[in-house]
Amino acid sequence: MCLGIPGQITELVDLEFLVAKVDIGGVKRDVIITCVVDDEHPAESCVGDWVLVHAGFAMSRLDEEEAARTLALLAELGDMQAEIDLMRQVETST
């Protein structure tokens, strides 16, 4: 029910009613962008934005830096695990 899918805004359709075309996994759909625009980030600057789409509305502008940070943290965890594994191997072999 609360399903949301990331998509990228490709063009503005209607500036008055704040409608934009969003590419969601190759499917293009008109989406209402009222919830992702404000004075600092007006509709005109939305093309290229990644947004989370729910029930035909863009509900959040995806923070690409945060996404990269989460992935980096997860990758780091992998490195840490590799190090722990290496330590274990060294311990058992010595």
Binding site: M1, D63, E66
Partner: protein, 377 residues
Amino acid sequence: MKYMDEFRDPATAKKLVEEIKRLAPIARGQRDMPLQIMEFCGGHTHTLFKYGIESMLPADIEMVHGPGCPVCVLPMARVDDCVVIAEQPGVIFTTFGDAMRVPGTCKSLLQAKADGCDVRMVYSPMDALAIARKNPDRDVVFFALGFETTMPSTALTLLQAHREGLKNFSLFCNHITTPATMRAILTDPDLRLDGFLAPGHVSMVIGAHPYDFVTRDYRKPLVITGFEPLDILQALWMLVKQFAEGRCEVENQYARIVPEAGNVEGLKAIAEVYETREHSEFRGLGNIGDAGIQIRETYAAYDAERKFKLQAAASTHDPEHLKCADVLRGVMKPWECPAFAKTCNPQNPLGALMVSPEGSCAAYYAYGKLAKRKENT
């Protein structure tokens, strides 16, 4: 797809599971039972089952499936109300697909459609508005259902109808709020919980602070999380870390989507259109003050409840042999219900938990064989 596939990487999942396994015994500490972690949201339940995450978790952690599935907590009497509206001459009743097959005491919306009512499935409330524009001589009703994730979309649609002066569009409002529902769970004496995974898409609307009471008043750690398997595993890892380090905080694993303050425009639309109901009955949860939502007097013309003069729904109880309420509250597992997979199955659902793919009964039916076996041994 970008921003989905990279959060499904199996190698990273394996490493997260190893970290969780390492920390879980420390996190569990002296508890005589495993840590009871509730994933509130039905979307999270779906991810847990789809990717078999529960079977990867150590015995120190037990997931409790929460009531965060709007069609699952909808009392049968509200479905009956939908059917009553749909049966009015000239009405086009529009709804999200999830609600079509939910049984009422007499019939579901799908059965009403088969009996000749004009019931239409839509993807967005704006699609319902488009139907209203095209059919000025018909009354178009949209079944506004869902937690806070969906509320801005229905509120903005109502405001748009108001701007256009459309007289033939209304909402049948059955929205429900997350924090009030969580509070009801926390005060349930039958339920012993240690922590929460909080719903990511509800939180993108309401932000992180409405959960502060969970850590402050009830001392339960909480992590807001997304819907990909790595999101859930990272959130579980963050939660066991909180236990292991003796912390109790609201943390946000899903920062790429959830801003701390939520969605300002969405919250503005919600505040403009909606107000809390004093009392609302929910399936399995009983009467919860302040969890139900109604349309403000200012927008009464767009309120299907007022337009069609619905009587206050009589309290309906589930049939004796259906244990939906206990399963919803997490005090009974789906297969312990006498009807599970016998008289109640996805082809012929008796309860809403078997209808929605987010319902824990449907999830157990589709994916749950392994988890069930694990718990039986």
